[in-house]
Symmetry: C2
Subunit: 402 residues, 2 copies
Amino acid sequence: MQKTLKVPGFEAAAVESGIKYEGRLDLGIISSRVPSVTSAVFTRNLVKAAPVIDSINLLEARKRFRAVVVNSGNANACTGPRGLGDCKTIRREAARLLKCGQDEILVSSTGVIGAYLPMDRYISGLERAASGLSESGLDDVARAILTTDTRPKTSRKKFSRNGHEIIMAGIAKGAGMIAPSMGPPQATMLCFVCCSASVEPSFWQTILQEAVDVSFNRITVDGDMSTNDTVIAMASGLSGNPEEDGTGVFARELREKLSALLMDLAGQIVKDGEGATKCVQVIVKGARDILDAELAARAISNSSLVKTAFFGQDPNWGRILAAAGRSGAVFDPDKADIFIGSCQIVSKGMPLGEKAEKRASAIMKNHEFSVTVDLGAGAAEYQMLTCDLSDEYVHINADYRT
Amino acid sequence: MQKTLKVPGFEAAAVESGIKYEGRLDLGIISSRVPSVTSAVFTRNLVKAAPVIDSINLLEARKRFRAVVVNSGNANACTGPRGLGDCKTIRREAARLLKCGQDEILVSSTGVIGAYLPMDRYISGLERAASGLSESGLDDVARAILTTDTRPKTSRKKFSRNGHEIIMAGIAKGAGMIAPSMGPPQATMLCFVCCSASVEPSFWQTILQEAVDVSFNRITVDGDMSTNDTVIAMASGLSGNPEEDGTGVFARELREKLSALLMDLAGQIVKDGEGATKCVQVIVKGARDILDAELAARAISNSSLVKTAFFGQDPNWGRILAAAGRSGAVFDPDKADIFIGSCQIVSKGMPLGEKAEKRASAIMKNHEFSVTVDLGAGAAEYQMLTCDLSDEYVHINADYRT
């Protein structure tokens, strides 16, 4: 596999520790040579996994961290005081291996809920990972964090200004239990970003929040929100640029590139959604206001009937319109237009006939297409990315634990 | 087929009119010998089918009706002025055949959205149905209204008081696009009730609303709300009891029996949900208030991950707890208990181990079982009926129109 994700100041490694399955990478370390300015957002689910609780506590006390330790196969969720104790043990061991403070390390987990971590294997894996750290290790960590994903998700951005080259690389995982939360702090899967820029902590937190809002906050696979969702972004400062606090010359590009990076990763998650065969951009426009646009877009994107119609390549606009109609958004169905790609199939609430639907059906044979609903009630717009609902989704989730 | 649904004062019939498919009953009439006090509730979806709009208008003007005409195979939804005109034509023809006013007839439809009714076949079917009306025809109408249902849903209640025998019979259909709405007027499928009691109109509307609230309002198959949902209840008065307005001796029993009738029918709908292999009662108790209990019960009942776990007979309490955690209900996960049937699998947010889960898994091999979540936050409770999500659901809905 090509190693493409090098970022100045960061080393990483992943190992097969046998946490759940044999013969696959499942434990990784991302290590920063210097204390990196670190921002993060987490699930808003009331049921939070031990590493999420542990990380939230640590981030309240400090803004600079040295490493992230992450495993798949076990979520360390619903594990009570013992689960929190295991996080502390992991941090203590990692701090010893990486020669930093145990409060400078964030732990993250994904996998089965309600099982204790196999700490012997975990710690022995951690030692092997720490001894294998390299500048080109982030690609391996991208594979180690996968669960029901079928492929790693990675993205990289680079730009230069005033002689300073800034590099950011991100990895993400997530295929099921994927649904956006509404307000900060939030996230919907695991995502880790390494960046070489020098940034002021609150600016870095602000632009991460913004980037999550336009990316992970607008995707859905199955409407379920996880107990472990985490996005962590570390900035080493090794680019040597003047510390950017939002008022400097790097502000706009950092903001744009971070959003683009997360949008790229979010799109990869939807395309690799559990059982997904289609990636569909749902665009609701002509809404009374942005909240109505969002309500309608989410109702359409999460509707089982709409999603099975996508799977069947059926331009079933009646289900789309009915989902918008029950969403809470206020509009007059007799003014609504619907398009599949650029092909209009509904005008003023009425179907345009078989010819239009045949063209729409042809468009739906593609792996990616858009659905646009114009509510005809105003000027507000909202977009979501969703996938179809296939029999494979059912098979994956009916058999997940057994 | 046994004909069991006779109610004094009512005749019914169903025919094969070929609206969509050949060789199956698809058009029915329920006719009342006298003007029956009629109450009704309809979908709250903004996108309302023509017969729903037509019926709402008629019910604003009068409370006594003579007949319901209902078809399957075509929803007459998103059909604009022509769809509304077709309703009027149907009522005019039915009035001629049944010798009553055209404003005394309610039309109801279910099936594909966005296609015009084949009026020639419809009207010719209507004539044959009208000529075949009989006291034992309601069972046939129960079959004629089915779409993806695999079996008819019927229920009958009888009680006597002060020498007056009161009979009520109900039929219902619904297998997909089934999800409750929240406030009146509402409904979630088609349901028609014939009753022999003499009732005052506003009392009859009130107790229908109450009955829908504890029955159809608490079931879900796929979380989608239809454009055609309709419950119509007709009371002929032929029992000869003093007109019941809520203060008389029949009030309590009428209320209880109507609720029981609709709960019976609602249960039959969930058991016959599209692709369903399990019928699951979701009980949330120990909530701070009833709204929290409802939020949690609905989130669990509509979660794709929970429903696929039901299909897999997997007591995946982590998904159940996570769904409650994202529902908006306020509780401390460390105080939550979860039971499958009478078998506790989570205590104070922590799993009780493999032995308990094995017993729970055995309970889940049954077609019907309950899931109880005690949030440990108060005394409020809410119950829902849901089904599992199987590969068959996906097949049915990916292929529905083609």
